[in-house]
């Protein structure tokens, strides 16, 4: 998230809108955004609506054994098609802004 925020201008320059999604309720996301200074959109998916539809449910990994999302990134073009994705195999390894920007070039 930190690296996405740092590169936010670059994303917007190429017309990409970053959107973060987790099971966190809106209040938690609001606090996080305030504390960390995140200015892009954060969506709340406590019922695993989108997380389930994208097959990203990680069972029993949340608070009190609740279900959460596994880390993943998708780049979607204006027609609604997936153009690039990253389903990390290691929790600590995430998409780098350079990788995403490279993929975003193909959308223009």
């Amino acid at each position: 998230m930190r690296s996405i925020q740092k590169s936010l201008d670059k994303f917007e320059e190429v017309g990409i809108r970053p959107v973060a999604i987790s099971v966190d309720p809106p209040e938690v996301s609001r606090d996080l955004c305030q504390k960390a200074g995140y200015t892009f959109t954060f969506l709340s998916d406590p019922k695993l609506d989108a997380i389930g539809r994208y097959d990203l449910v990680h069972k029993g990994q949340g608070e009190n054994g609740g279900d959460i999302a596994r880390p993943a990134e998708f780049l979607i073009d204006s027609s609604g098609a997936v153009r690039w994705r990253m389903l990390t195999e290691n929790y600590w390894v995430r998409a780098r802004p350079e990788q995403i920007l490279e993929a975003a070039k193909a959308l223009q």
Partner: protein, 150 residues
């Protein structure tokens, strides 16, 4: 009884191995170059192991009290366990992720959804794709799914 010098190598080695563990989530995770592969942490562990082995040698030097042997051995084992925990967490436990075979593939249509934003307002993917970004229609949306902070 003669006064023994403090075995600083053992204790510094141990503290360094703890620092090598904690500096990953608190420091090195911030930059992709130190996050995607924890070489900085492994380097710190390397230095810690050198210090610990020097400390053990010192603890077992002729003329040292037996407490020195015991302490340096226990602390060294603990330091190695910290390294083991780090390796397990990063290289093994971090890979216990669902396979997500049903996740939309490149070229497929991304499933639409409607969720609340941080302000409690309902937003759909199609809205995110069409509402203006810096005054013009966006080229696309980057969805970042994350575990959350609860």
């Amino acid at each position: 009884m003669k006064i023994q010098k403090f075995n600083w190598q053992t204790w510094t080695g141990f503290l360094l191995s703890v620092a090598a563990l904690l500096s990953y989530p608190f420091v090195f995770v911030r930059w992709p170059i130190t996050r995607d592969f924890p070489w900085a942490n492994l380097l710190l562990f390397g230095v810690a192991l050198v210090l610990l082995s020097v400390g053990v040698k010192r603890g077992f030097a002729p003329g040292r009290r037996s407490i020195s042997k015991i302490a340096s051995s226990i602390v060294t084992v603990l330091g190695v366990l910290v390294l083991g925990f780090f390796v397990f967490t990063f290289f093994i436990a971090a890979k216990w992720l669902p396979a997500s075979h049903g996740a939309p593939q490149v070229g497929q249509k991304a499933p639409d959804f409607t969720l609340s934003d941080a302000g409690g307002k309902s937003v759909s993917l199609s809205e995110l794709l069409s509402s203006p970004l810096k005054g013009s229609t966006p080229e696309g949306v980057l969805l970042i799914f994350y575990r959350g902070y609860w």
